[in-house]
């Protein structure tokens, strides 16, 4: 889930790091976990498309763009939502999660409208 796990570093450091990461992450509340899962879903979809493009070439380029960017956009927006509803984040005390979610929905609807328009 988190990049460092795939990086080459001194073994024990990495292991310790991963362990602490695990422990730290397990503390995160469920709703954030849902968001993370959502992000992962989007990113992996994007990666698959990039792989496909690498294989067959970028012929319907607009379709490719909209396909990938829809995933990236979804991920980004989800991350934004996560930031806003994260209780640890002190900056957003004044922003009620409902408002954040409403914005999130709006933003997503706009995004998908554009995607549909650009998909060709």
């Amino acid at each position: 889930m988190v990049k460092p796990s795939s990086s080459a570093a001194t073994k024990d450091d990495a292991r310790a790091l991963i362990h602490s990461l695990r422990s730290a992450y397990s503390a995160t509340p469920t709703n954030l976990k849902i968001i993370d899962l959502y992000v992962v879903f989007a990113v992996s979809t994007a990666l698959i498309q990039v792989a496909y493009m690498a294989i067959v070439g970028s012929f319907p380029f607009n379709s490719f763009l909209s396909g990938v960017l829809s995933c990236v956009g979804t991920a980004v927006l989800a991350v934004c939502l996560r930031i806003q509803v994260n209780k640890e984040n002190k900056e957003f005390k004044d922003l009620p999660p409902e408002r954040a979610f409403a914005d999130f929905v709006l933003c997503n609807l706009v995004l998908h409208l554009v995607i549909m328009n650009f998909l060709g």
């Binding site: 849902i34 968001i35 879903f41 396909g67 979804t74 060709g120």
Partner: protein, 436 residues
Amino acid sequence: MAKSPIFILFSLIITFTVTNSFSIENPTDRRILVLLDDLALKSSHSIFFNSLESRGFDLDFKLSDDPKIALQRYGQYLYDALILFTPNSERFGGNLDVAGILEFVDSGKDLIVAADSSASDLIRNVAAECGVDFDEDPSAMVIDHGSYAVSGTEGDHTLIAADDFVQADVLLGNTKIEAPVLFKGIGHSVNPANSLVLKVLSASPSAYSANPKSKLSSPPSLSGSSISLVSVVQARNNARVVFSGSLDLFSNKFFKSPVQKAGSSNKYEKSGNQQFVTELSKWVFHERGHLKAVNVRHHRVGETEEPAIYRINDDLEYLVEIYEWSGSSWEPYVANDVQVQFYMMSPYVLKTMSSDKKGLYLASFKVPDVYGVFQFKVEYQRLGYTSLSLAKQIPVRPFRHNEYERFIPTAFPYYGASFSTMAGFLIFSFVYLYSK
């Protein structure tokens, strides 16, 4: 989508230029003015004139210094053609001058000019304006020791038996002219680069143009087969002009006299002059070789009405009907070399049109995948025929936004991804709100 009016406007704009000599319907001349140096010519050349009259022309004979000569009245031309048998007169009566004659030609009328040795400046200027240069030495004649006409009397080989005709049936008729043509007079040269003038009867390689009386001091300015004896000019507006270096060419004497070419044994009872002159006069007076193009149209394959604008990669058909004037009626013109261009600054498509031997020509091709304002061009110029040049403007547009290919199999994964993210979003929004 409503078609933009601009395009509709353009479809109406058609550049259609067929320059006919007179009326589209009957291009043959009718009224001919004949100018003579003296009326004796009228009798000495009667055969020629009679043949014209017998073909339905009405001739109007005038002396060259007749003060009442007038080509036009109230801006209307009184004649359809002009015959100048005035080799020697320096100026015409009335108000007719070189400019007047050229104007006459430029308005599509026809002209026959017969010069002679010591041709006048008037004639020379008319000729020069049309691209025919008579030998400037006034006393020069065409001499040919190689192919002179054998005859008892004269000894200076200036009576030439010429048989180097231009190979064009439209000019000289279908029946081949067997006997050589008798020629006695001045030679001229034409600029080979000049695409409008054409040598009909040229001299033999051994001919040269000089004064037979005097010793040849300097090399002759004209020599060999570059000498032209009889030339025709077809102006850009299809006005036709004949220049002959010899007035006797048209005379009864030459018409009737037998001819034998030097060096060759076979003798002809009758020179080729009459046939030559008659056929040539048919051509010059638009009894032959006059084309018209009608019903120019184009449309997409499988449709009939003409679109205001084509799209790239459309398949289209271009049709045109071409007829030739036979002197009395319009006959279908049959040829296999009519070509149409699809032209934008340079031809993108150049195609030979297929013809159903009834005058209808058709070409079908695919519009290039280049947008722009194209033109259908038919530039048909054949030896002796009036030139057809049709141009028709038609814009070619690129694809509309909704004419591109959609639902491409290659893009299915992308479509799938987009929709799966949408579905994911729906699920997520539900789950996220209500899971505790």
